[in-house]
């Protein structure tokens, strides 16, 4: 303790947290009820009490160069028991949002996604892209006859080109963000004198597999008490998405298996161009996944409404992400239903909206709450790698 430790409060950062859903931050009086009622916090330097005081002082680097904010699943046990209404769960959510923004590449998109001012601008990008393509193809009107999105409206090749570009863009963003985050985590750990940050628990690939298995089972998430149903809802959304991703690849196999290898319908599998018949296994699988996603996201919304009193109302950032998913899944299901019902005047516009929102989700994934999947994974892997996670969870 030879040198004085001068703390420089970053008041701008404090304001940012307060404007991102953590407005109750300053009510905290450091009683540490939160650290005790939390079922997923470590024994040593437990969160979220220390995050609350770091946030009150605006100690951005301490908050970011640490896996703890991502070890929290915002189950709101802390918020429910908080004697002051300081809502630690909401505050940590706000810090996570700012962390995503901090590591965002390109950084202006990090700010734009978190700010309602830019919502229309962000939506305009896919709208313009898809309108341009449709204009170029001369498809800027409702096609006649039997509905076929691929043949008469938006060719598969165009869809794929646009989405692969969006996905690559997102991957680049994720890669840049995660690399920088990992670097900060390591430097944070090196600066620290705590022994937990020095105990390496095993080879990273093993840890990554463990972490993914943990996600599949929602083992950590299920330790939350106040908002127990959230982990179930999240499970539906998670597997709904996973199922749809598998179905998308499956559909590509059908398409290119036919186009490049000339495979025709074999057995129950209908190779060829979409739409596929309802009895096709891929179609059944995709429809079940879509329904799971729909049920999950509805439950997420209902849980949020029911828990609002105890857990807080959530921020713009939370609701933007929920709304995007809800829009995607409803327009997706409606596109199919309207096509089958042969209501062309509605089917094509709905499908258009669907494409716009899927693009939104893909292209802006590293900047929206979707980014939690990358940063939480990184944080959990680091936590296991550095020994930050308690044995009981690793």
């Amino acid at each position: 303790m030879a040198e004085a430790n001068v703390i420089k409060p970053d008041l701008e950062f404090v304001k940012k947290i307060m404007n991102s859903g953590g407005e109750s931050l300053k009510k905290c009086y450091q009683c540490a009820t939160c650290s005790v009622v939390c079922n997923v916090t470590p024994e040593d330097k437990p969160f979220p009490r220390k995050e609350m005081i770091q946030a009150q002082w605006g100690l951005k680097d301490k908050l970011f160069s640490n896996p703890d904010i991502w070890l929290c699943h915002q189950c709101s046990d802390c918020t429910a028991y908080c004697p002051r209404g300081a809502k630690p769960g909401e505050v940590l959510g706000a810090i996570r949002k700012l962390s995503i923004e901090h590591y965002a590449f390109p950084s202006f998109l990090g700010k734009a996604v978190g700010d309602p001012k830019y919502l229309l601008g962000l939506l305009a990008v896919p709208v313009v892209i898809f309108l341009t393509v449709l204009g170029y193809l001369g498809h800027l009107r409702i096609p006649e006859g039997e509905i076929s999105y691929a043949e008469k409206f938006m060719p598969v090749l165009a869809v794929e080109a646009i989405f692969i570009a969006a996905a690559l863009f997102a991957c680049l963003g994720f890669f840049a963000g995660v690399v920088r985050y990992w670097r900060d985590l390591k430097s944070g750990a090196e600066l620290s004198t705590n022994k937990w940050q020095r105990m390496v628990k095993g080879p990273i690939p093993v840890i990554i597999i463990n972490t993914i298995l943990e996600f599949m089972t929602h083992r950590r998430f299920q330790k939350c008490e106040v908002t127990k149903d959230r982990s179930n809802a999240h499970m539906f959304v998670f597997f709904g998405f996973a199922g749809l991703a598998i179905a998308a690849v499956w559909a590509l196999v059908y398409l290119y298996g036919y186009e490049f290898f000339g495979i025709k319908t074999s057995g129950i599998f209908n190779f060829g161009l979409s739409p596929y018949p309802l009895h096709d296994p891929m179609k059944i699988f995709a429809n079940i996944s879509a329904l799971a996603l729909f049920a999950g996201i509805l439950q997420v919304i209902m849980n949020r409404k029911n828990n609002a009193e105890k857990a807080g109302n959530g921020s713009y950032y939370d609701w933007l992400f929920i709304s995007i998913i809800l829009t995607i899944v409803t327009t997706g299901i409606l596109s199919e239903v309207l096509r089958l019902a042969d209501i062309a005047a509605l089917a094509y516009p709905v499908y258009f909206i669907h494409l716009v929102f899927v693009f939104f989700l893909f292209a802006y994934a590293p900047f929206s709450k979707m980014a939690h999947m990358a940063y939480r994974t990184t944080a959990l892997v680091f936590a296991k790698y550095s020994g930050r996670e308690d044995k009981k969870y690793s």
Binding site: C31, T33, S35, E43, D44, K45, Y81, P83, R84
Partner: protein, 420 residues
């Protein structure tokens, strides 16, 4: 006693609540010549103070102060008191109130000499309310040793049974009257002072602190009875589950206070009460250790000296952090406490023989409102207005501040006498 005061000039002061605040208000007014009525719902005067083992910071027993006050009441013809009585209705305005009072029977009249024969003869036991149910008492009982008036009461639950008859037969002084009925009467007074004090916050509502589930978790007011020589264990500090002498005790501060899920305000006395209670255990069991878990210790004014005195005892330790989880070690009955030591940034899981919850004060008016035109703050404390208030029903306070607010209330009550 002539209960009907109608026709008399309206000059009296009604003090509702016969605890230290009410008694002080009454005596301050009576001793400068005003007629005062004290109404008390218990069979005895003295209120919560009568239940305390010692006062802080002097660590003297409250019995001596109460004794002096009871003498002052006895010697002053201006003070009349009604025990086992509650206010039913208030009408009128300052300067001219009509108050309806209801007296419930205690089934013992003023012939009682406290010989105790009725209790000997009684074969029914009831939980001892004065000791928060930690022991039992006969259904014919003196509420506590120091009870004023010194008079036994019969618990209404035995009425009409052979036990009641046995008590009556055992009494040589014709003091037991099983035919007593509730009585309603009215008083005309010029001013009313509400002094109904406080109730300990119901610690069962703080579910994570497990009061009522873990046997060796008690509240601070229970600790007062446990330490008192006239308490359930005759002053031995032993734990409820197995009677083992308590050697390692924890005090959990802000149990329900400063908590918007329970009592949002600071109850003012709990820090001092816990500091005081560490001296109880250190004195009773010299090898004992005590730990106080706190958010911040509040020892206003001169009480800081008391804190320093307790802190000088190396067997008393202080941990900054609020206990938020209490569990029972089923095999030993020990109490497991989880807390984050916020200065060290570590979660602690500690084991204690017994845990005392420093439960807060809830104004009695949270449960029972003033049956008249009273004003309340957002936490149900009575704000002095047309109906005056004093002591812990007015704000959370210690005995000293109760005395101060009582003197102020007496003056205001006297000032109201001039109004017509």
């Amino acid at each position: 006693m002539a209960h009907e005061m109608s026709g008399a000039p309206v000059s009296g002061i009604l003090v509702v609540g016969g605890g230290i605040s009410g008694i002080t208000t009454a005596l301050e007014a009576a001793e400068v010549g005003h007629e005062v009525f004290i109404v008390e719902k218990n069979p005895y005067l003295g209120g919560r103070v009568a239940q305390l083992y010692k006062y802080f910071p002097k660590l003297c027993p409250p019995a001596c102060g109460l004794e002096i006050n009871f003498q002052r009441i006895k010697k002053n013809r201006n003070v009349k008191y009604f025990t086992l009585t509650e206010v039913e209705k208030i009408s009128g305005a300052p300067g001219n109130y009509d108050v309806t009072l209801k007296e419930t029977p205690g089934y013992v009249n003023s012939n009682c000499t406290c010989c105790g024969k009725c209790a000997e003869a009684c074969d029914v036991e009831i939980p001892n309310e004065f000791n928060f149910g930690m022991d039992k008492t006969k259904a014919a009982y003196l509420p506590h040793e120091m009870a004023f008036p010194q008079r036994y009461v019969l618990h209404p639950s035995i009425l009409g049974t052979s036990a009641a008859q046995k008590c009556k037969d055992a009494c040589q002084y014709n003091a037991i009257d099983l035919d007593m009925k509730p009585k309603t009467f009215t008083l005309k007074v010029a001013s009313i002072v509400w002094a109904t004090g406080w109730n300990p916050y119901d610690a069962k509502k703080i579910d994570n602190l497990s009061f009522g589930k873990v046997k060796n978790v008690i509240t601070n007011i229970m600790m007062e009875r446990l330490a008192a020589p006239n308490g359930p264990t005759k002053g031995k500090i032993v734990r409820p589950s197995d009677g083992k002498a308590v050697q390692n005790i924890a005090f959990v501060q802000c149990a329900g206070s400063r908590d918007e899920n329970h009592l949002p305000f600071c109850s003012y006395i709990c820090c001092l009460a816990s500091l005081k209670q560490t001296t109880y255990i250190r004195e009773a069991n010299p090898k004992s250790k005590a730990t106080i878990f706190y958010i911040d210790l509040r020892t206003p004014g001169r009480y800081e000296k008391f804190y320093k005195k307790v802190k000088a005892d190396t067997n008393v330790s202080f941990v900054k952090g609020k206990v938020a989880k209490i569990e029972e070690d089923a095999s030993t009955g020990d109490v497991l406490v989880t807390v984050e030591d916020t200065l060290a940034g570590k979660k602690l899981h500690e084991k204690f023989d017994m845990v005392v919850l420093a439960a807060g004060m809830e104004p009695s008016t949270s449960a029972v409102k003033v049956p008249g035109n009273a004003k309340y703050d957002e936490n149900n404390f009575v704000i002095s207005g047309e109906i005056l208030s004093t002591g812990c029903v007015r704000k959370p306070c210690d005995v000293m501040s109760s005395g101060q607010t009582a003197t102020g209330a007496a003056l205001k009550a006297i000032q109201m006498l001039g109004r017509r």
